[in-house]
Assembly symmetry: C2
Homo-oligomer: 423 residues x 2
């Protein structure tokens, strides 16, 4: 008998009907002979409503109490789901993160899982129950306070439980059919990916793909837990994310997995920086001290006549104000002429392990953008990813052009072959 | 420095404004030099909304999961209350029933508190925090499952914590000014009681007064914890419930504490029962086996000609159907002619420890009812209470007549003096 962990997001359990539909699905998995552990998020808008209440009583809610508040959301959905399953004649028990043994550090609102001790889950399974576990939450190791895991936390809970219980698979149920070669809202011909490696999925996740978060995929890779991303509204196979293709279906690794885009970033250019050792360090120490994560960095060639250069970097728009303030505050320490802030940028990334062995991918990528009339402002690459920054307005056209150029459109059956030199 | 336990009901924290108002009140108590523990119920209609959701997914929700669901309500209110207090510049931490050490038996939906181990609360207080505790909930000793305490559970939580922490007082904040000599909706001249003994309060609670439940008063009496029932909407002194009058204000024990009424009961008459030993036992064993609590019982004098008698008893209307079914099912075992069911009855009770030493109270009570033209159907007495059953329609007039006759109306300053014989 296999052990399966299933995770259902808030949109899948948005109301009583959704909960009953999901309950049927869970019972199917149990009837197929599996032990089933279900991780569930808060219903639909519950979390937003709770946040709204918190803001009404306090402009800056304390982390510990905010976590206590938010965890009420999963408590409601998991209890209802257990009831709905029992109503179908199967045994079910719900468990909070704390009861399920999800042990975290003490960083409220974005705690990290440091251990999972699922003794009560194991017992419940051995007694024939379906175990329903609250996603997104845990209990801190030192103070025994309730914590939440931050964005994407329920997916991480599911993968962590799958690892601790040595599950065969972690099924992530969502409102889309799986991971696509591009955002289907932008590229109508985007194709569902049948299988993708952890590495490519990590790059897609950090490049703007929102189906799975980086953190959850990283956890799954570390413990080698296959993830199956699929729709809770259909019975279709979704996307398998694993180290190697699963089962008897032999999937050949695509050269290119997909095209991701991200318009949530802004660009800051520090103008007129003296071109001498330690300048970049001064800038990025200032940013790091403000606890801001940056993404891409480019330093221009300095003008020989002035000995000054410009340094540009990208960062989440939400951190823009904080970064500008931090830099201005340290202007004399760093030494620069001015700051330019640009939040009308977009990032397009091409991801695929095949890049490593297929020269010419970079050239083909730039050609596709050039043919679409898209100007490139910044470039950054990893072994299996190329990213460029363009005007935000150009993003949809650029993504479509690249998707077509690399043969990812759903009506073409084979990827194009790349030749030539370079990359 | 004293330790005060305050309890706020759902109507006091119905919305963000209510939570902020209550937070100010709590901070006042802290500023007055007290250590403060606050027990809070779920906000306004939250519990009803959760019950409604449960009914949508399952007609008979399992007890364990139902408790898990309902406890989300206090989790929300207590976290918000802690945030609101911190926003006023004072330290506060919220605790679930489990974290607060409220240990119960395993009877879901109506668990009983069997121990309170408030180690975390004590620590939080010693660190200067106001401790906010979820009312109505605990954790079962054997299975470590979340339980709820049933109706009035938050009051019981407050009294139990007050006992475990050796508090000076347990303040129960509600939407009325205290305990009145009669229900002010029925008797306009009802007077707020300044002090009442545990014993009289117990009798009032079991006779239909809804301000405090029997269970909570019983707990307070056992551990000798003074209760102060007062309004969260005003700064007025409310009603003190304790073994002896509190503080320097010497309150003389009233002969009569108040008049309670109850129209939630029905009367069942078992007609034509053979007047021989074991008959009443057979009837009440049948009722007890159906887990129905009965209140008053009367057996008529049997008619010599037939050797048959009638037995009447009262019970909650909600249990009526079940009782009739149980008796009908066991008709041959018991042996009776027919059953009469009457749900148009009301009960009026006069409560006061002074009865013990003031003969004539019973006579004056019956005279008042007679003068008001109220017919009495059943009578039952304890040492400090007389109750009668009348037609439900007669209840308001009967309560007013008795209230006036015993000098309880707010414009008369002294209780009437009873003379004569009897009781």
């Amino acid at each position: 008998m296999g052990l399966v962990v299933q995770k259902y997001g808030g949109s899948s359990v948005a109301d009583a009907e959704g909960i009953k539909r999901v309950a049927k699905r869970i019972v199917e998995a149990k009837k197929n002979g599996n032990q089933v552990v279900v991780v569930v998020s808060a219903m639909g808008d519950t979390t937003d409503e709770l946040i709204d209440l918190a803001e009404q009583v306090s402009p800056m809610p304390a982390g510990r109490e905010f976590d206590m508040l938010l965890t009420a959301g999963e408590r409601i959905s998991m209890a209802l789901l257990a009831m709905a399953i029992k109503n179908l004649g199967h045994e079910a028990q719900s468990f909070t993160g704390s009861q399920a043994g999800v042990i975290t550090d003490s960083v409220h609102n974005k705690a990290r899982i440091i251990d999972v001790t699922p003794g009560r889950i194991r017992t419940a399974l051995d007694e024939g129950n379906i175990a329903i576990v609250a996603g997104f939450q845990g209990v801190s190791q030192d103070k025994k306070d309730i914590t939440t895991l931050g964005r994407g936390g329920s997916d991480t809970t599911a993968v962590a439980l799958a690892a601790a219980l040595d599950a065969e698979v972690c099924e992530i149920y969502t409102d889309v059919d799986g991971v696509f070669t591009a955002d289907p809202r932008v590229v109508k011909k985007a194709r569902k990916i049948d299988w993708i490696s952890f590495e490519d999925m990590l790059e897609l996740a950090s490049s703007g793909s929102k189906v799975l978060l980086h953190r959850c995929v990283e956890y799954a890779r570390r413990y080698n837990i296959p993830i199956h991303v699929r729709s809770s509204f259909s019975g279709l196979q979704g996307t398998w994310v694993s180290s190697e293709p699963i089962g008897d279906k032999q999937v050949e690794q695509a050269i290119i997995s997909g095209v991701a885009h991200d318009t949530s970033e802004a660009k800051i250019t520090v103008v007129g920086v003296p071109d001498k050792p330690g300048e970049a360090a001064a800038i990025f120490r200032t940013i790091a001290d403000a606890e801001i994560n940056i993404d891409m960095v480019v330093q221009n060639v300095s003008a020989a006549s002035t000995g000054l250069t410009d340094i540009s970097f990208t960062l989440p728009k939400t951190e823009g104000r904080k970064a500008i303030d931090a830099l201005e505050k340290n202007r004399s320490g760093i030494g620069f002429d001015s700051l330019r802030y640009d939040d009308q940028i977009g990032k397009i990334s091409l991801v695929g392990a095949g890049m490593k062995t297929n020269p010419g991918v970079t050239a083909a990528f730039f050609e596709a953008l050039s043919n679409a009339g898209v100007n490139i402002e910044l470039i950054s690459t990893s072994e299996i990813r190329i990213s460029v920054v363009t005007r935000a307005d150009d993003v949809p056209e650029a993504v479509r052009a690249v998707h077509t150029a690399f043969g990812l459109d759903s009506d073409s059956d084979e990827a194009v072959v790349y030749g030539g030199t370079g990359r």
